[in-house]
Symmetry: C2
Subunit: 449 residues, 2 copies
């Protein structure tokens, strides 16, 4: 009987475990998860935290006992794997009561996820300085807000999580100051579009300090936390650290596996690492980018689930070939929908393309239709090949799902000209005759020719 | 100087006129439009009619004088073309005061649109029996409702326009009975999905009589219109006839041009008819279907605009090749969004595919996210080639723009397997981790293998 050991019990790990048990019900599947939580919707945490009526545990998609009792998975929470011995094919570490364990494996999956980046500066270990990644982090933040009557918060960072948590704080009527060293909000975004996001944030009461170098956090005499940014001090009852995440690839590093971009674990299109008995999947692993064909590291929930399935399929002897990611992402900033897919102009230039870009403004509904709002689309093409390379979109409606059409086009290496010919949906309540992405493609074509 | 004559001044005609004037400002462009309206958003009429605060003329995108004064187009409204003489290269007819006219052309564009089908039965010519196609039709309906204190209406037909007008009537608190001979609502739709549309209609107070053969309309003694359906009589202050449209290809027929499906004017990928000096574009012309590669007739606003541009481009000596349509459509039925693209199972079988289909139910937002509603997706693939052939979707949010991703896939003749690998957007307020179309593709793949 084959023993499949999985390190990490979130999206990638549990997807692989469940699917492999379905493929091979006589197999032994052991999942070792360091926390007490498995299979939860991490991305839903900001929305849950802001709603006092909900428990964090609402976000658990499938409880541990279902995996154990219904699916026959040997799921062990509180088990922290500290070593992988590739020679002996064992993993070892410590269990919930600090008792040591060692398991041998026939096949191993590293699904260790990612961890928030915490700056190595004074005060980032103070009580009330919190980051959001695991469900336990979410509980900690929700409890902290509740117990400490938080009415002022400082967010260090201005990425997706920072922006979503800004909305969460404001929903709870908590004052928010956001701070980051680079003088740009969402630097990957076309300036026109990031300007709209900035406006939405400030209209909703957030105060932005971009271009403020941070040197530490200290506790003030009246018990507040004070983020030190040169001359400026930003004070709050709590500090959320959201400057990004890094892959949890420590086990892979120590066992000598090959790494990819940003120290993510390098995997091929079958999710195999440089060791033929070890897979990696989820936020700890890299991926091919469908536009560049090169390796990239973009932690994405869908990719994690898909990669978990791919591991199970490959292990069951099925043909597997994951083409990769387009870097499609969408997030909500108060009333705004913000979406992107593919390459930015800078990324395109870095990868040897000759990028041409356009930024257009159009409407979310047909001419003269009530409730019309503005949609901005930024689109990037390659002058040499004519290929569509990426798009970004911002608007109050009709953005979140529209980006998917461009994403499919990127998977297909479609030209801007071909994209501009696509038969996209039209009805007055849902958009103009020319879909916003088509208007962008039409304008981009003119600039490219 | 080249003279370009255009018959018909709506989407296709005015798109061609405007764009060609931009390409060749020294050219002579004459547009002959039989009505007094040009360039309006016909699809917006149901929403305008239901809003007493708005005028129908709000739907005019660009008034005639702008075309005349700013763009130098010789636009003649009230000019009905009655004959095309291909030998002499002239068009002739009668102007607003019944005066005859004849214009010679170097190149001609037929952009004569489509007309509502009116059954050849007694009573369909009665006062108060109205159809909706032109802006003038819209004015007539809006005035009729206003002047006749309409509180009960009968709609003959249950297609897009019928459904949109049903919503319009109900918005105005007008009782609605809908009737059609075939015992199916939206027969092209998967039964599960059309069942949801039916429920939405009846929940909003519409009464559906499908499977009721209609034999005529008569006036009752108390001045109501009575639609005769066998034993059943459906009475109302007005009757809307919305059983479909047919291409206005009379001029083409009389001048011996080749016709395509449903008597639409046959055009190639450059919009040329069987006469090398005559183009056709818009609802009067046929198109290639990107899935079957065969000719089809699907009147669509986007196609009309795009085809108008293509005519102008081709005439200006540019390279033009319109691949065709996927039959992508979206419409609103009260709170529901209904969308389709590509082939149905029956259409697929008719075109020699070996169709496999699946209908799935998923959610509009992430696990446990507030405001979650149901989305149903129906997807069709070809067992032989593995190709994705079409999709249909119904839901209360997140349907209208999601269909576009499938449409792009159809343009690219993508397989269901490849589509299932696409990196589509995810955030909890906007969808589940697996986009509904991906869940459908995953399930379809299982059935296909």
């Amino acid at each position: 009987m084959m023993r499949f050991v999985i390190v990490g019990g979130d999206a990638a790990g549990m997807s692989a475990a469940s699917r492999f048990r379905r493929h091979a019900s006589d197999s032994e599947v052991i999942v070792l998860e360091k926390s007490s939580d498995v299979s939860y919707s991490a991305c839903g945490m900001p929305y849950n935290i802001s709603d006092p009526a909900r428990e964090l545990d609402d976000l658990v998609v499938r409880p541990a006992r279902v995996f154990r009792e219904k699916q026959g998975i040997d799921l062990r929470t509180g088990h922290r794997v500290e070593q992988v011995d590739r020679e002996r094919k064992t993993v070892s570490g410590h269990g919930p009561d600090a008792e040591p364990f060692t398991f041998s494996y026939d096949k191993l999956l590293l699904a260790t996820g990612a961890a928030p980046v915490i700056p190595d500066m004074p005060g980032f270990d103070l009580d009330g300085v919190l980051a959001l990644k695991s469900l336990e982090d979410g509980r900690r933040i929700k409890n902290y807000i509740r117990s400490n009557h938080v009415t002022r918060a400082v967010i260090v960072g201005m990425g997706y999580i920072a922006l979503e948590m800004c909305e969460a704080f404001r929903t709870m009527d908590i004052d928010v100051a956001m701070v980051k060293p680079r003088p740009q909000l969402l630097p990957w975004m076309a300036p026109k579009l990031s300007g709209i996001v900035r406006e939405e944030l400030t209209n909703n009461g957030a105060i932005l300090y971009d271009g403020y170098p941070i040197t530490g956090i200290e506790k003030t005499r009246d018990g507040l936390l004070s983020v030190i940014c040169g001359e400026t001090r930003l004070e709050g009852h709590m500090v959320l650290v959201a400057i990004g995440v890094k892959p949890n690839s420590g086990l892979a590093v120590e066992s000598g596996l090959v790494l990819g971009p940003q120290n993510a674990i390098a995997v091929d299109r079958q999710m195999l690492t440089s060791d033929e008995d070890i897979y990696a999947a989820g936020d700890c692993a890299d991926a091919f980018h469908v536009v560049t064909g090169e390796k990239t590291w973009i932690p994405l929930a869908l990719r994690a689930n898909r990669a978990g399935w791919a591991v199970a399929d490959h292990l069951a002897g099925r043909q597997v070939r994951l083409e990769g990611v387009a870097g499609t992402a969408v997030f909500k900033v108060f009333g705004l929908q913000v979406a992107r897919t593919g390459l930015t102009v800078d990324e395109a230039a870095d990868h040897g393309f000759d990028p041409v870009d356009v930024t257009i403004e159009t409407r979310s509904r047909a001419h003269a239709h009530p409730g019309n709002t503005t949609i901005h689309v930024h689109m990037v093409g390659d002058r040499k090949s004519g290929r569509l390379l990426g798009a970004q979109m911002v608007g109050y409606e009709g953005v979140a799902h529209r980006i998917n059409a461009v994403s499919v086009a990127l998977h297909q290496k479609m030209s801007v000209a071909s994209y501009s010919q696509c038969d996209l949906a039209y009805a007055p309540p849902f958009g103009p005759v020319w879909d916003p992405t088509l208007t962008a493609a039409n304008q981009l074509l003119k600039k490219m020719s």
